[in-house]
């Protein structure tokens, strides 16, 4: 049985093609990105660009050129937050943020550069869109929001948020959502998006990136060689080169490309997951953290037991049922404050498309039995 329910931290297993592609690159094909015209390098470069095109399709944009590849979503978020924010600026964010957004914002605030504040939210953390306008100021330079909470799986509505803020740039952190939930940046009008390769996209760690619809608003964070415009000491003005200094994680990108091209068909349905969630909710010893509306629910949820700590819960799930879950604050103290579980956190379960109905039933039984 696959009892790994910590896919929000990193997905496992991966499609077999991921390891095959990475091994092939390391052991057989080799080659870096661009810069020469021999076949080894050209083939490797073509594959990197294929990955960029695959990602564009997955996030719903025709502008693949505006996707940059980074080591992870945190790097991408730092690039965009630090690259957009200017002294005197005001930033709005949500109550459900991960520290990948909250800490860069707080760092800039402590430097005296910006102010930031939270948008008003419902009990499950979903932003109250009709209250956004009252928070906007003339100096609001960015709205930065995680698309899907890594604590309760609730997905925000980026299209509605963008409509409410007009020309103010909207940055979405799609670390949890991209790969498991619809993402349509062009239709929504999202200006910036960060993603990781190793979670819902089922790729390897060390991969991720950003989509920058308005790259002219962003200053580079990392400077160096790009294999383009090399006659100048300044970074190129064009994307993706402007934001891709240094040799990328070629092996990892080959693995991510393989993951994108070999997405498994889910071994359980949305109804199966809904049934699991409903069963867990019937246990009165738990408070279950999930979206109020199942249509906005990602494949994760967490529980707070009325007597056991989150660490005790996770330990018992593993010791008694072999289930690997995640205890604590999940790097999202703001979300736990909003949900009322700060500073102790909760115990989170996050699914993989590889989980079968049998495995979901095993999880339901474990949650029920441990919770008695």
């Amino acid at each position: 049985m696959n009892l790994y329910f910590d896919n929000c931290a990193t997905s496992f297993p991966k499609p077999a093609a991921v390891a095959e592609a990475m091994t092939r690159h390391l052991n057989e094909t080799g080659g870096t990105y661009g810069r020469s015209a021999y076949p080894r390098i050209l083939n490797s470069t073509r594959l990197v660009e294929e990955c960029r095109d695959q990602l564009a399709g997955r996030m719903g944009t025709i502008q693949a050129d505006k996707i940059i590849l980074t080591a992870n979503a945190t790097t991408a978020l730092n690039l965009m937050i630090q690259g957009i924010c200017r002294k005197g600026g005001h930033v709005l964010t949500s109550a459900m943020e991960h520290n990948a957004i909250a800490r860069p914002l707080e760092h800039l605030r402590q430097q005296g550069l910006i102010e930031w504040e939270l948008l008003e939210s419902a009990a499950d953390g979903s932003i109250l869109v009709d209250k956004i306008a009252s928070k906007l100021r003339p100096n609001t330079i960015l709205v930065a929001v995680c698309h899907m909470s890594n604590v309760n799986g609730m997905a925000q509505s980026p299209g509605e948020i963008k409509q409410a803020i007009g020309e103010i740039p909207l940055l979405i952190d799609a670390s949890q959502s991209l790969g498991q939930y619809p993402v349509e940046v062009d239709r929504w009008g999202v200006d910036f998006l960060a993603f990781t390769g190793h979670k819902s996209l089922l790729g390897p760690t060390g991969t991720g990136g950003a989509f920058l619809r308005r790259p002219e608003l962003v200053e580079p964070l990392v400077f160096g060689g790009t294999g383009s415009g090399s006659d100048s000491l300044s970074m190129p003005a064009f994307v993706p080169d402007r934001f891709e200094a240094g040799t990328p994680n070629i092996t990892g990108i080959h693995g991510l490309n393989a993951a994108l091209k070999n997405r498994p068909v889910a071994c359980h349905s949305a109804d199966d997951f809904a049934t699991l969630l409903s069963e867990v909710k019937t246990n009165k010893n738990y408070r279950v953290r999930c979206a109020d509306d199942f249509a906005r629910q990602g494949k994760l949820f967490s529980v707070v037991h009325q007597r056991l700590s989150s660490s005790e819960l996770a330990h018992r799930f593993y010791e008694e049922y072999g289930i690997e879950s995640r205890a604590g604050l999940h790097c999202a103290p703001l979300a736990h404050r909003h949900l009322g579980s700060f500073p102790y956190g909760d115990c989170r379960f996050s699914l993989s498309p590889y989980h079968t109905v049998e495995e979901l039933n095993h999880l339901a039984k474990a949650i029920h039995d441990v919770g008695k």
């Binding site: 661009g34 810069r35 015209a37 073509r46 050129d65 294999g227 190129p236 064009f238 080169d241």
Partner: protein, 75 residues
Amino acid sequence: MSENRELFLFQNIRQVIKAELWCVKNKIQVRVIPVPKPYSTECGLCLELDRADGDRLEQFAGENEMVINRIPVGQ
């Protein structure tokens, strides 16, 4: 190199590969080659193809906001 060929220079690798892929899909014979000495390029690589196909590629480049430099071979 044949005098019926020409070179397309691009800003970056992404554009070279994107244009090459488009040529292949449209059955245009194309080669990715190093940029010859007289010319400076942003990325060191360029495409070589028949002049007869050049206008089609230029149109594709324009539609995709690519900045190109089109150079007849032999000049």
